[in-house]
């Protein structure tokens, strides 16, 4: 059984699928940007129960590697890594923007833009779909202010939460329906080999925030 999940967006999305056909046997999605840590494990347990199997039946794990808000993203990655290690199975990492691109039913090239907070978006550009539904990533993933990349994205249908939040700045004329990555699409794409697989390492795209501490301040009265 293939277990897939993504925690790179405000959604916690989980799916169980046949590892060869990619046929979905259980899935769930909950949108709650602040509770990835609480929601993911119960959602996996519930999916296993719905499918009538146990963790021991898992043969492969697929996980979205972002980019996305770091804290939630890490919940998915550390869960995938520890489960896979103790079960002795492989983890397939997939760029979360690739998942979103696959969710588009359009036959055109598309752009993906997700919410990177701090008035920025994570974005990437994709070719039109091949016969098997796969899409080649042409640019990205990268993180920028919407205005800075508007010229790159202009004229393309834009998928993802970023398209909704920054429609005007991006000059979006056409918003595709998908706002968040779907674990069902992730599971099917990995099972059928139509999503590119990478190491399960987080795509942070930003350095950690560090407040440099200056020299000790004078404590003598002025």
């Amino acid at each position: 059984m293939l277990l897939a999940f993504d925690t790179s967006s405000a959604a916690v999305t989980v799916a169980l699928a046949d590892p060869l056909s990619g046929e979905i046997v259980a899935s769930s999605t909950t949108v709650d940007a602040l509770r990835h840590g609480e929601l993911l494990a119960p959602a996996i347990a519930a999916a296993l129960e719905t499918a009538g199997c146990t963790a021991g039946d898992l043969t492969r794990i697929a996980v979205g590697v972002g980019p996305g808000p770091f804290t939630g993203l890490r919940v998915g990655l550390v869960t995938a890594r520890t489960m896979a290690d103790v079960l002795g199975i492989e983890v397939a990492g997939v760029c979360s923007l690739d998942i979103l691109a696959r969710q588009s039913s359009l036959t055109l090239p598309v752009a993906v833009a997700t919410d990177a907070r701090r008035k920025e978006i994570y974005w990437a550009l994709y070719d039109g779909p091949a016969a098997d539904g796969s899409r080649r990533r042409l640019e990205g993933p990268a993180v920028d202010r919407p205005a800075e990349v508007a010229h790159v994205l202009s004229g393309l249908p834009v998928i993802g939460r970023g398209a909704v939040l920054y429609a005007e700045a991006l000059g979006v004329t056409e918003v595709d329906v998908a706002e968040y990555p779907s674990a069902e699409v992730l599971a099917t794409g990995v099972a059928t080999g139509t999503l590119d697989v990478v190491e399960p390492d987080p795509l942070y795209l930003r350095r950690p925030d560090v407040t440099m501490s200056a020299r000790p301040k004078s404590v003598l009265p002025k």
């Binding site: 119960p42 804290t71 890490r74 520890t82 079960l87 942070y204 000790p216 404590v219 003598l220």
Partner: protein, 356 residues
């Protein structure tokens, strides 16, 4: 019955700790320590003079699987042998805690074993069972580190802990870090200040203030600590010296500062024991590794008829063994595990030993 047979009946617990900058995975059977694997990101923080939360969280993710593997190898067990998984669910840095909690859930889920989300501070107390066996029926625990400075009354660690007092400003370990910086010593300050003091430092060279020890302060803050004034007094003293073009006797200042900290800590800890009628004082946290604190606590407690329990320095700092030790006590006491929806609670109250 051989001791091995006894041991085999005891629960095998894996504990995960990620509340600050150490990724710790410990494995215990009953009260026997089998492994205590640690990966620290302290060097990545050193140049910032404090722990950077995002840097710590990233390091936890990278270190988690290798540290679990190392712990299992050292203990000579397979993950499937584990009877329960324990994890620090709070208090601590939210993002850092979350990595450990998610990893623990991944393990519990994969192994189909119960999950125990435990209190970091209570784990600092429980770790002593690995060194000295069952905790005494009733003791005062003094936890002193870079993150906490608390006096706790502990009757039964599996039931709860009663806070008696804590710092009203800086943690004791924080004061060590800040004074180290003033003296030009590296981060984290504790071990370096201790070493400088031992290198011929004169404890009586300067008398630095003892926070919250005046009669008036004792009325309101009998068991509370304050290290902010002490830290400022040291900084002032050093700066005045430098301004006058004089050398700063680092060893003497370190010793005198350390003396002030240890004096207040031991005085209040003993007073807390007397207040409760407890004959045992347990000391934990990174500052418990301080050599002067150990000696002074021994001397003063023995004079007061109080027995001191201090785990060895490696168990005093944050580690996975302490979490496994508390998990083991909870399993042995028959406590119900935490749900898979267990949150990471950065401000988990000390009265809560187990997150239900």
């Amino acid at each position: 019955m051989s001791s091995n047979a006894v041991m085999a009946n005891e629960p095998l617990i894996l504990g995960i700790e990620t509340s600050c900058d150490e990724t710790g995975v410990g494995i215990v059977r009953g009260q026997t320590l089998l492994a205590d694997a640690i990966a620290s990101s302290v060097e990545e923080h050193a140049r910032f003079g404090g722990v950077v939360p995002e840097v710590a969280s990233r390091a936890h993710l990278e270190a988690m699987v290798p540290t679990i593997r190392r712990a299992c190898e050292t203990a000579g067990i397979k993950p499937t042998d584990v009877d329960a998984v324990a994890v620090t669910s709070g208090p601590g840095l939210a993002g850092a805690l979350l990595v450990g909690v998610a990893a623990a859930k991944g393990l519990a889920l994969s192994l189909d074993k119960p999950l125990y989300g435990v209190n970091h501070l209570a784990a600092h107390v429980a770790v002593d069972t690995l060194e000295h066996g069952d905790l005494p029926k009733g003791c005062v625990a003094m936890l002193v580190s870079g993150g906490h400075s608390s006096l706790l009354a502990v009757e039964d660690i599996t039931e709860g802990v009663l806070p008696m007092g804590s710092t009203i400003d800086d943690a004791a370990g924080e004061a060590f870090d800040k004074v180290a910086r003033v003296l030009g010593l590296p981060f984290p300050g504790g071990p370096y200040v201790d070493k400088a003091a031992r290198d011929g430092g004169d404890r009586l060279y300067v008398t630095f203030p003892r926070g919250l020890t005046s009669q008036r302060d004792l009325e309101r803050h009998r068991f509370d600590f304050s290290f902010s004034g002490l830290k400022t007094a040291v900084a002032r003293w050093v700066e005045a010296r430098r301004r006058d073009g004089e050398d700063v006797p680092v060893n003497h200042v370190a010793a005198a500062f350390q003396e002030a900290v240890c004096d207040v800590l031991t005085r209040k800890a003993i007073d807390a024991c007397k207040d409760r009628g407890f004959e045992h004082l347990l000391i934990g946290g990174g500052v418990a590794a301080n050599s002067r604190l150990r000696v002074m606590a021994e001397e003063r407690c023995s004079a007061a008829g109080i027995a001191v329990r201090v785990p060895r320095p490696g168990l005093c700092t944050d580690n996975g063994a302490m979490v496994a030790a508390l998990g083991s006590e909870l399993v042995r006491a028959g406590k119900a595990p935490s749900p898979l929806g267990l949150p990471a609670d950065s401000s988990m109250p000390i009265t809560e030993v187990l997150n239900k």
